[in-house]
């Protein structure tokens, strides 16, 4: 049975290599400088590049982080530092956990009902909102876990020196956990950068390089999906190239997460 166990592990690794191997080999054959520098031409034989979509994804993820990171970190601080609110902490923690499991397409529909219908059309704000919605519970829970690793002696020492609670949190606890907090934020970024479903009914996607979030907004994932499910072979090649870029980006993020996590101060303390 030991053999069966080893076979399972080998099979999973083989599967990963099979999937990744295809993504890398076909993607690498389809990628070119034009992919990064050109806009879509509208011509199906010579479809141009995905510059607009790359910029669009960066803007959407940036906007989402502007809302999602402060809110998530604040909620994490609340969960970890304000233990006097015991009656409220349990429900908040539980809700955050449950929210991480909400299907992302349902979040997209919420964005549609709350921001697309009232604003009269698909727009980038709705897309950023949907991504932020996915981000907040992840950042909140990882922040809480990381702050809990900071020993209570830090807080006690700070308070004993006459610091207020706010000073203790802002100047002692949060700085001590910065490395791990970055890990948590990057985990959330890695998650939302690859999301397609919440953007389908919110940002919708666009073939133009637009920096106005009140209009339909381009994103790498939606553009890849449109090209991949469309009929034109040249656009499918672009989709493969796009997915390679996305996976490579997430690989770099994952390596960075490991690196930051292994060097973070909290790990040293723990």
């Amino acid at each position: 049975m030991l053999a069966g166990c080893i076979a399972c592990a080998v099979l999973i690794v083989a599967m990963l290599l099979w999937v990744l191997g295809y993504l890398v080999s076909i993607g690498a054959g389809s990628i070119s400088l034009a992919f990064f520098t050109q806009l879509p031409t509208g011509d199906v034989v010579n479809p141009g590049g995905m510059k607009h979509a790359i910029i669009g994804t960066l803007v959407l993820v940036g906007l989402a982080s502007c809302i999602g990171v402060p809110l998530g970190v604040a909620a994490g601080v609340y969960l970890s530092e304000y233990t006097q609110d015991r009656w409220l902490l349990g429900p908040v923690r539980f809700t955050a956990d449950v929210l991480t499991g909400v299907p992302s397409i349902v979040v997209g529909i919420l964005g549609y009902e709350l921001l697309v219908v009232p604003m009269g059309g698909y727009n980038g704000w709705a897309g950023a909102f949907a991504l932020a919605f996915i981000m907040v519970p992840i950042v909140a829970r990882t922040t809480e876990e990381m702050l809990k690793l900071i020993p209570d002696s830090y807080r006690a020492a700070s308070l004993a020196l006459g610091a207020t609670k706010a000073q203790t949190v802002l100047k002692v606890v949060l700085p001590a956990a910065t490395g791990s907090l970055i890990t948590g934020v990057m985990l959330a970024l890695a998650r939302i950068a690859g999301e397609t479903a919440p953007l389908l009914f919110t940002a919708l996607g666009s073939r133009l390089l637009s920096l106005d979030p009140s209009k339909p907004f381009p994103s790498l994932t939606v553009q890849i999906y449109t090209y991949a499910t469309g009929p034109y072979p040249e656009q499918k090649r672009l989709a493969w190239a796009g997915i390679l870029v996305l996976v490579a980006l997430l690989f770099v993020l994952n390596v960075l997460i490991r690196y930051v996590a292994s060097r973070s101060v909290t790990r040293g303390i723990a």
């Binding site: 399972c8 604040a74 304000y82 809700t95 397409i105 706010a166």
Partner: protein, 344 residues
């Protein structure tokens, strides 16, 4: 002063999290009300999903076509919405995915906990599995569409049809009934490679990492005494592993439920390979549709208020179902596994 500000901003962020879930439920409930009113609880059991009006010849009581002035009288049939095909599709594809993924994941988790440390392979393997979990579902979808589906269509499914098609009692797998009543035609199912089987396989590949990661953490939490005790009793490697699995069965069940929750809500990859057909077919080789893929396909182009509302009711069912699965899963895993593994 600053203290109060800090407390209230932290507290209100906590409240925002509660409001997020509340708004999700309220908005979906309000928006699906028209459909709920129009179809009632029958929505869940009805198998018809027809967003467009239909024209058909009017028939009299005897069943013959009504003619007037030498022309056939037509009547319009109102759109019809029922969620059973997509509920069926979600349930069957998720359960099939679990059937493929669970044994593999438990085996790999045992490997990671009991064998890999001796080989100094924990680090790289854990990284691989976590990276697999981080790959977006769109990437799996594209791989499934361009690699898996053609292989199923050209090699696997014809081979299965040759092997199993002639076995009495299994021919339903390769045939479908078109139409109903006495006009129904029993024809051979076209094997497209974009069907329930492809959807479940892609889902299985996608949930293996999460089940493995959580099961690994659950198994790691088994007390050393428990393992050493069984070995001292003369248990073989397999017998002591079995006792580990038994000891942590509730946590492992939680891990499986987390995988199920992910499978049930998965959208993009499934949409690309499942064939998108709102019909219930017993065959795993027939195209199907899940709740999530129905939403991805139709929501943006919903043909009317009722159609949109019916889709929102499907979204509501999907939300309630995944909340329920998640709550059970988290209740079982709490304290037994790291939440960071469960967070993605």
């Amino acid at each position: 002063m600053a203290d109060q500000l800090m407390l209230w901003s932290a507290r209100s962020s906590g409240v925002v999290i509660l409001l997020m879930l509340a708004s999700l439920i309220t908005v979906l409930a309000i928006a699906s009300a028209p459909s709920l009113k129009a179809f009632g609880p029958g929505f869940i059991f009805s198998t018809d999903w027809r967003p467009n009006e239909l024209e058909s010849p009017k028939r009299d009581a005897a069943g013959s076509v009504v003619m007037e002035d030498g022309e056939v009288v037509m009547q319009t049939i109102a759109p019809e919405f029922g969620a059973l095909p997509v509920i069926y599709g979600t349930a069957v594809s998720s359960v099939l995915a679990l059937v493929f993924a669970v044994p593999l994941s438990l085996g790999a988790a045992l490997f990671l906990v009991r064998v890999a440390p001796k080989l100094r392979a924990v680090g790289p393997l854990s990284f691989l599995i976590e990276f697999l979990a981080a790959i977006p579902s769109l990437a799996y979808g594209i791989w499934g569409l361009f690699v898996l589906a053609p292989i199923l269509q050209n090699h696997v499914e014809p081979a299965l049809a040759r092997m199993l098609g002639d076995i009495p009692g299994l021919s339903w797998m390769f045939h479908e009934l078109i139409g109903d009543g006495p006009d129904a035609i029993n024809r051979e199912l076209p094997l497209t490679g974009r069907d329930m089987l492809a959807g479940s396989l892609i889902l299985a590949i996608m949930i293996v990492p999460i089940i493995t990661a959580v099961a690994r953490d659950v198994l790691r939490a088994v007390p050393r005494v428990q393992i050493e005790g069984t070995i001292a009793m003369g248990a073989t490697w397999w017998q002591s592993s079995w006792s580990m699995l038994r000891y942590s069965r509730s946590g492992l069940f939680g891990a499986v439920m987390l995988g199920l929750a992910r499978a049930a809500g998965e959208t993009m990859a499934v949409t690309m390979v499942i064939g998108n057909n709102n019909r219930i077919s017993p065959s795993p080789f027939a195209p199907a549709q899940t709740m999530a893929s129905l939403l991805a396909n139709e929501f943006a182009e919903a043909s009317g208020a009722l159609h949109r509302s019916a889709l929102l009711e499907v979204a509501m069912i999907l939300l309630v179902m995944s909340l329920a699965i998640n709550i059970v899963a988290r209740y079982l895993v709490v304290g037994k596994a790291s939440r960071t593994a469960a967070a993605h």
